[in-house]
Amino acid sequence: MKKGKNFRFISRLDIKDQHVIKSINFEGLRKVGLAKDFALKYYNENIDEIFYIDAVSSLFNKKFVRNFLQMACEKIRVPVTVGGGIKNADQAKKILKSGADKIAINTAAVKSPDLLKKLSDLIGSQSVVSYIEAKKNESNKTWEVCINNGKENTGIDVMRWVEIVQKKGAGELLVTSVDKEGTEKGFENDLYSKLSKNVDVPMIASGGCGKIKDILEISKNICVDGIAISSVLHFDKLKINEIKKFFKNKNFNIRY
């Protein structure tokens, strides 16, 4: 077995009702199409995983779960993670029952970190993703945790926060740079380098992917296990197989 690095390519779908939306730095939502069509398209194009992040927290709406989530998961035979507005264990269980494999939690975990512990005991830490929105504080060169889709800065130091969420049982981290999100100007590489000292569970980087060279740069960080990308796929700037072929030739262990 060859020794290359494992790396995952995840399609991140920010959704509002049934639509995929796209924003820049979480501002100015723009509808780009139906979520189920996008998910199926990326599945057929060989994506490794799908992340649904609900921008308007409709996930615990019964109709949403029945009409959207079950349909969205039925034909997609790759792992699905769902986040956005999950507040308690009951909602998490319902989402998993509808076909999702993992739930991603941000705001509710910041308000009550014990929720992560409760969830990981209940559904297993492998199904609990700590979703972190990190915003750079230019004055002291640290990153701070944001909630509510990047709108509210809690002032919590991201380096300290990742230690807490791992201790509480998060089995995976999805870390988005609020400053890079939607810009297509490259990942926030410094953030992930700094995080690598504090992270022992799989970490997915998101925000800023524009070109293959951006992915190559972030993939050099041994602590980043994959990337979640959105606009470059939505607007056909990069193709999944084109990215995968490039990394396959670079001796990565990827599903191609």
Binding site: R77, K97, S125, Q126, R255
Partner: protein, 202 residues
């Protein structure tokens, strides 16, 4: 075509929606088994499992499904354990506290040893090395998500494995009518479907 039935053990853990949809796609009808009397005799059984080993075992026992599974397996009914469902086929697991399994295949489950690159849980697509006579798939990449791995008393029952850092992890096992896979076939694209088909057609 009349649909065949498959017994899917439904004991309240994890995502059985996806595996049931995969089985329906393969023209099987799922019979959800919540208690022993739900079982359709002479039909194959799938035992899924997500979460922790002790919790899965507790729930199986609560509904007396553990005894039923042992009885059926010994009778020769084909049984497929998926993920923790596979680990449950072993004698015991060391997850959280030492907990007895179904004892259908000799061995136990223990924690994967990790390093900075190969983290635990082991999450993602891994290339499985299968024994040639068993399977032939397109890509051989399957989706794994687990923190514990099994160790078999007799390696001859291993039909496929992955390497992960310093670990050699059994990915699929088979002893007569009892089969298991550590990966999630219902989340492994077309190869996963073919793995399930293999078990259903056999």
């Amino acid at each position: 075509m009349k649909k065949n039935y498959i017994n899917l053990i439904d004991y309240g853990v994890g995502n059985i929606f996806s595996i049931s949809k995969s089985l329906e796609y393969l023209n099987f009808k799922c019979n959800f088994v919540k208690k022993p009397s739900d079982l359709i005799k002479n039909q194959k059984i799938i035992l899924p499992g997500v979460g922790s080993f002790p919790n899965c075992k507790k729930l199986l026992k609560k509904n007396q499904l553990d005894e039923m599974l042992i009885k059926e397996a010994k009778k020769g009914t084909p049984l497929l354990g998926v993920c923790i469902g596979m680990q449950l086929l072993m004698d015991y697991s060391l997850e959280i506290k030492k907990t007895k399994g179904l004892g259908l295949i000799g061995g136990f489950a223990k924690k994967i040893s990790n390093d900075k690159i190969n983290k635990v849980p082991n999450i993602g697509w891994r290339k499985v090395n299968f024994k040639k006579k068993y399977f032939k798939y397109k890509k051989n990449f399957f989706y794994f998500v687990h923190s514990y791995k099994i160790q078999l008393d007799d390696r001859n029952y291993q039909t496929g494995y992955i390497t992960y850092g310093d670990n050699t992890i059994p990915a699929s096992i088979k002893k007569d009518n009892v089969v298991g896979c550590q990966f999630h076939p219902e989340k492994s694209g077309i190869d996963g479907i073919n793995f399930l088909k293999n078990f259903l057609d056999e």
